[in-house]
């Protein structure tokens, strides 16, 4: 593959690395609930590689989209035209998500803690916050109902990987159990960041560092994490994106580099 004309020998960007790592984690999955941005790239790349039958469900109610252009929002008109189904919010959240049809949900957050609880509501006190964030959207529902949740965070800092959340908008299964309610999914099982991959198995387990990206040290990741981050017994180093993965991502998935910033 030397002399590749599409430039797969260009340096790999952080966005590319995150997309490739997230795509690989989707191997064998059938349904994914995805937002726009890196999850779009990851799911589209997965469909071309490790999960050919993957159905992407959008919070807007689109199932089985076949967009003519890379979508700019989860409700982009190009996701609707040519889709296999469009359902109401009541059906989307009630029957599809709460009904148990989503294998993997992608979520983001301003803060995440070691149990995979998320804050997207406020920095500071809820009653008089220093920063008012957008809130849950459907995140509470994705966490409560998807079989597992992947979090992709571009920036890995002690402020965002917090020892104690300012506010828990979206609780993982451990908090649900403490509230007396049996959770339906495993909560956050993978956190993919600019530095590496954190993982946990489900209720009772905390996030551990399972892989560092090439050139990143364990100490770097621990220093960037707001709690005493544990490391898996067998720590891996992320396999760099293959030229095939990069070519698909750059040429087919996002040729105009909308999200491949």
């Amino acid at each position: 593959m030397s002399g590749d004309p599409t430039g797969s020998t260009r340096p790999v960007t952080s966005s590319e690395l995150l997309s490739v790592v997230a795509a690989r984690e989707l191997a064998g999955r059938r349904t994914v609930f995805a937002g726009i941005g890196l999850p779009t790239l990851a799911t589209e790349l997965a469909r071309l590689t490790v999960a050919p039958g993957l159905e992407v469900v959008y919070e807007s109610g689109v199932c089985g989209a076949h967009p003519s252009h890379l979508p700019e929002t989860i409700a982009d008109a190009v996701l609707i035209t040519g889709a296999e189904a469009v359902v109401s919010m009541a059906t989307l959240f009630g029957s599809v998500l709460q009904g148990g049809h989503i294998d993997v949900g992608f979520l983001g957050a301003a803060q995440i803690d070691r149990w995979g609880n998320l804050n997207t509501s406020v920095i500071g006190e809820w009653e008089s916050p220093s920063v008012r964030l957008p809130g849950s959207g459907g995140a509470v529902e994705v966490m409560a109902n998807a079989r597992e949740v992947f979090v992709v965070m571009r920036r890995h800092t002690p402020r965002s990987f917090a020892d104690v959340l300012d506010f828990c908008t979206t609780p993982g299964p451990d908090r649900a159990l403490a509230d007396g309610i049996r959770p339906l999914g495993a909560g956050v099982t993978r956190v993919i960041t600019e530095l590496g991959v954190l993982a946990r198995a489900g209720a009772g387990d905390e996030l551990r560092l399972v892989a560092v990206h090439p050139g990143v040290s364990v100490e770097q990741v621990r220093a960037a994490t707001g709690w005493e981050l544990k490391t898996a017994d067998r720590l891996a180093t992320t396999d760099p994106p293959t030229s095939a993965e990069l070519r698909l991502l750059r040429d087919d998935v996002d040729p105009n580099r909308v999200y491949l910033r």
Binding site: G28, E55, G82, E84, V86, S95, R147
Partner: protein, 323 residues
């Protein structure tokens, strides 16, 4: 508790979804199962019921809002020991003879019956589809139904009523059929299913079930479905098998395909009143036909011409495309 993991669908499973009725019933209906057959007067999955009879399934719990002719036939064939329903009659055309014998005289054997109202059944499907432990509804206050159906219970609202008083409301439990059969006008090979005309409770019955089989008048190209995604009532991820079975809803109807066989509805009251005649009917029309294609052929083209309908196209809407 059902989960997405139980579905057959997904990567690699697409080609395997389209199968003959015989295979679908063999794969998804087992003795002792809870089987939902839905379709409110329109699109009743009769052919599915007949194949269940042919394969001799036993000890089924049948869940169906309007238990009508196909249920009477399954009862007569000895497939059913328990019925969950909100209307047990032959539409407005008369009685179900076998059902009445079973309930009134335990003849030839008793039938356990869970009686609800229509909306109680709808709410049971909705709760099943949405994995809710119960669904509230403003029915049953003062009814004798809760006294004969322990499934109908009460919950106290945690919010005060407008006048400040405490408010109680009845609730029903979810239903999770082992398998739901519905009939539809068309689907693609992945199971994206489009229905028009009366849509009943089909989508909820599919989502409530552990497995779902969609029986269709037409198997269409992906492009047909994708040209009108709002028409897709049941998305592929909820469907395990697609069975092509034209005219499979007879004697009910398929909007735009064929009309209702009202004469047969009227005839059923007399047929079913006589257990010998009813068993003779089953011998001739169900056991005596290899499959629904044989049943359709036996009725004959002249018969089907009598149920033919003219065209009334909907006209398109414009989904638009990015320029």
């Amino acid at each position: 508790m059902r989960g997405a993991v139980e579905r057959t669908a997904g990567a690699g499973g697409v080609a395997g979804k389209v199968m003959p009725m015989r295979e679908a019933v063999a794969a998804f209906v087992h003795d002792g199962d809870t089987v939902s057959l839905e379709g409110f007067t329109h699109l009743i999955p009769t052919a599915a019921g007949h194949e269940i009879i042919r394969q001799g399934r036993r000890d089924l719990t049948v869940v169906r809002m309007t238990a009508d002719i196909v249920v009477d036939q399954m009862l007569a064939a000895g497939c059913v020991t328990r019925l969950v329903s909100s209307f047990v009659g032959n539409s407005s055309a008369g009685s179900l003879g076998e059902l009445r014998r079973r309930i009134e005289h335990a003849d030839p054997e008793p039938l356990a019956f869970e009686e609800y109202s229509h909306y109680g059944m709808v709410c049971r499907y909705v709760a099943g589809a949405q994995r809710l432990p119960f669904h509230p509804l403003r029915s049953y206050a003062g009814s004798d139904l809760p006294s004969v159906n322990p499934g109908i219970r009460k919950v106290t609202s945690p919010y005060p009523a407008a006048d400040g008083s405490t408010e109680e409301i009845y609730v029903v439990p979810p239903v999770h059929p082992d398998v739901t059969f519905i009939h539809a006008q068309r689907a693609d090979r992945r199971g994206n299913t489009q229905i028009w005309g009366l849509t009943g409770v089909q989508a909820e019955a599919v989502y409530a079930a552990r497995k779902a089989v969609v029986v269709v008048e037409e198997l269409v190209a992906d492009e047909v479905i994708r040209a009108d995604p709002n028409r897709t009532l049941v998305p592929a991820h909820a469907v395990d098998a697609v069975v092509l079975c034209p005219r499979g809803a007879h004697p009910s109807f398929a909007q735009g395909y064929y009309d209702r066989d009202n004469a047969f509805y009227r005839a059923w009251s007399a047929i079913s009143k006589d257990p010998v005649r009813l068993r003779g009917w089953l011998e001739e029309w169900v056991y005596g036909t290899a499959d629904h294609a044989a049943y359709v052929a036996k009725l004959g083209e002249e018969f089907w011409a009598g149920l033919a309908v003219g065209e009334a196209p909907s006209g398109p809407v414009d989904y638009g495309r990015r320029l």
